[in-house]
C-alpha cells in the first residue's frame, strides 16, 4: 500500500482526484489476483520441496509475486476509491470476486506440475510486463518496470527446470509431459480478450492479447523444443477465471489464505 501510494504521489495523482475507472480497476485487479494466487500456491511448497535449495528458490519467487500483488491490489484499491486497501482486497473477497485466470489456482501436484504451471504463467507475465513498462498509465508502467526484472528470473528458473525434467529421466519426462497435457487447455484463457482488455488496448494502457499470445507462443515453443517436449494440441476453451468463474480449487486455497483475517478481523502483528 505504502509503496503504491508513494508511486501515485510521485505521479502527481492523489487517490481523491482520480476519476473512478471501472475498466482500469478490473484490469489491475486481474493482474494482482494472478500474482497473489500463484504466489500463495508456491508458498504451499515451503517445507515440502524436493530439496532445501528448491524450498528457498520457490519461496523467493512466491515473495516476488506477493510483492507484485501488493502493488497491484494497492493501486486497484486507489482506482476503486471505496476505501479497500491491498489487505481488504486480498483477504476479504470471495471466490467469485477473484479474477485470476484459472491456470494460476491449479493445485501444485508434483514438482514437475508446479514447474509446468510456472513456465506457462512466467512467460505470459513476462510478455505482459515488458509491454506495460511503456503503458500510458504511469503507475502501471512503474509497477511493471519492477516486476519485469523479477519475472525474467522466474522464467529462467522455471524454464531451466522444464528443460532438465523434459530432457531428463524417463520418469521426469513422463511427469512433465502429463502435466503439460493437462494444464495446456487453461492457457487459452490467458489470451481470451474481453471488453476490459479491448478498452485497455484502445487507451494504450495494456497490450492487445493477440500480440502477447504471439510472443508467448514463440517463447514457449523454443522452451519446449529445448526440453524435447511436444506442444499439446489446443482444445476448445470454456474457462472464465478472469470473469469470476473458477474451478473448485480456488475456494479451498482462499479458505486457508483468508482464515486468519476472517477469524480475527483486523488482526495485525
Amino acid at each position: 500500500m505504502s509503496a503504491a501510494n508513494a508511486m501515485s504521489a510521485a505521479n502527481g495523482m492523489s487517490p481523491a482526484t482520480r476519476v473512478r475507472d471501472d475498466d482500469l480497476f478490473q484490469y489491475v485487479l486481474r493482474m494482482g489476483d494472478l500474482s497473489l494466487v500463484l504466489g500463495q500456491r508456491l508458498g504451499e511448497w515451503v517445507g515440502h520441496s524436493p530439496a532445501l535449495e528448491e524450498d528457498l528458490g520457490l519461496a523467493n519467487i512466491a515473495l516476488d509475486l506477493i510483492g507484485q500483488a501488493r502493488l497491484l491490489l494497492g493501486y486497484a484499491g486507489e482506482i476503486e476509491g471505496r476505501g479497500r486497501d491491498e489487505d481488504k482486497l486480498a483477504f476479504l473477497r470471495e471466490q467469485g470476486e477473484y479474477f485470476n485466470p484459472i491456470l494460476a489456482e491449479q493445485p501444485n501436484g508434483d514438482f514437475g506440475r508446479t514447474i509446468v504451471r510456472q513456465v506457462l504463467i512466467d512467460a505470459f507475465q513476462l510478455e505482459l510486463y515488458e509491454w506495460l513498462t511503456a503503458s500510458s498509465d504511469g503507475q502501471l508502467a512503474e509497477i511493471a518496470a519492477k516486476a519485469v526484472k523479477e519475472t525474467r528470473y522466474h522464467l529462467r528458473y522455471s524454464g531451466g527446470w522444464l528443460v532438465r525434467l523434459g530432457d531428463g529421466t524417463v520418469e521426469s519426462r513422463a511427469r512433465v509431459s502429463s502435466a503439460l497435457e493437462s494444464l495446456w487447455s487453461y492457457t487459452a484463457e490467458l489470451f481470451a480478450e474481453d471488453a476490459v482488455d479491448r478498452a485497455m488496448a484502445e487507451r494504450g494502457i495494456g497490450p492487445r492479447l493477440a500480440d502477447v499470445q504471439k510472443a508467448w507462443n514463440a517463447r514457449i515453443d523454443a522452451l519446449l523444443a529445448e526440453a524435447t517436449l511436444d506442444r499439446p494440441l489446443d482444445r476448445p476453451y470454456s474457462w472464465f477465471g478472469k470473469q469470476g468463474a473458477h474451478s473448485e480449487h480456488l475456494g479451498y486455497m482462499l479458505a486457508e489464505m483468508q482464515y486468519m483475517q476472517r477469524t480475527y478481523p483486523g488482526a495485525r502483528w
Binding site: 535449495e53 528457498l56 528458490g57 523467493n60 528470473y153 529462467r156 528458473y157 531451466g160 532438465r164
Partner: protein
C-alpha cells in the same frame, strides 16, 4: 563413485561489491552449474550480499591436508621480515 540420489556439492564464492574479491560464502547442492548459480543467488544474495557469484564443484577443489600443517605452515612462523609492516599506508586506500 557418485551418488545418484544426491546432487553434487558446490562451493559458492560471492563478490560483495565491485573492487573486492570473491569470498567463500558456503556450499549447496545442485544438479549442474547453472542450477548452482541460481541456488546461490537464492541462498546467499537474498539480502543484497553480492554483485557477482562463482560456483565450483567441491570435488574440483584440491585442499591441503590438515595433518601437513606443521610442514606447510610452521616454517613461515619465524620469518617476520616477510611481513610488509614497515610501509605507511595512505589514508585514501580503503581496501588493502
Amino acid at each position: 563413485m557418485e551418488d545418484k540420489h544426491q546432487w553434487p556439492l558446490y562451493e559458492v564464492f560471492i563478490r560483495s561489491r565491485g573492487g573486492l574479491d570473491h569470498k567463500h560464502a558456503g556450499s549447496l547442492h545442485a544438479a549442474d552449474a547453472p542450477m548452482a548459480l541460481e541456488h546461490a543467488r537464492d541462498l546467499y544474495t537474498r539480502r543484497q550480499e553480492g554483485v557477482s557469484i562463482w560456483v565450483v564443484r567441491s570435488t574440483d577443489i584440491t585442499a591441503s591436508d590438515p595433518a601437513d600443517a606443521d610442514s606447510l605452515f610452521e616454517p613461515a612462523r619465524d620469518k617476520v621480515y616477510r611481513h610488509p609492516t614497515f610501509y605507511d599506508i595512505p589514508d585514501e586506500v580503503k581496501t588493502l
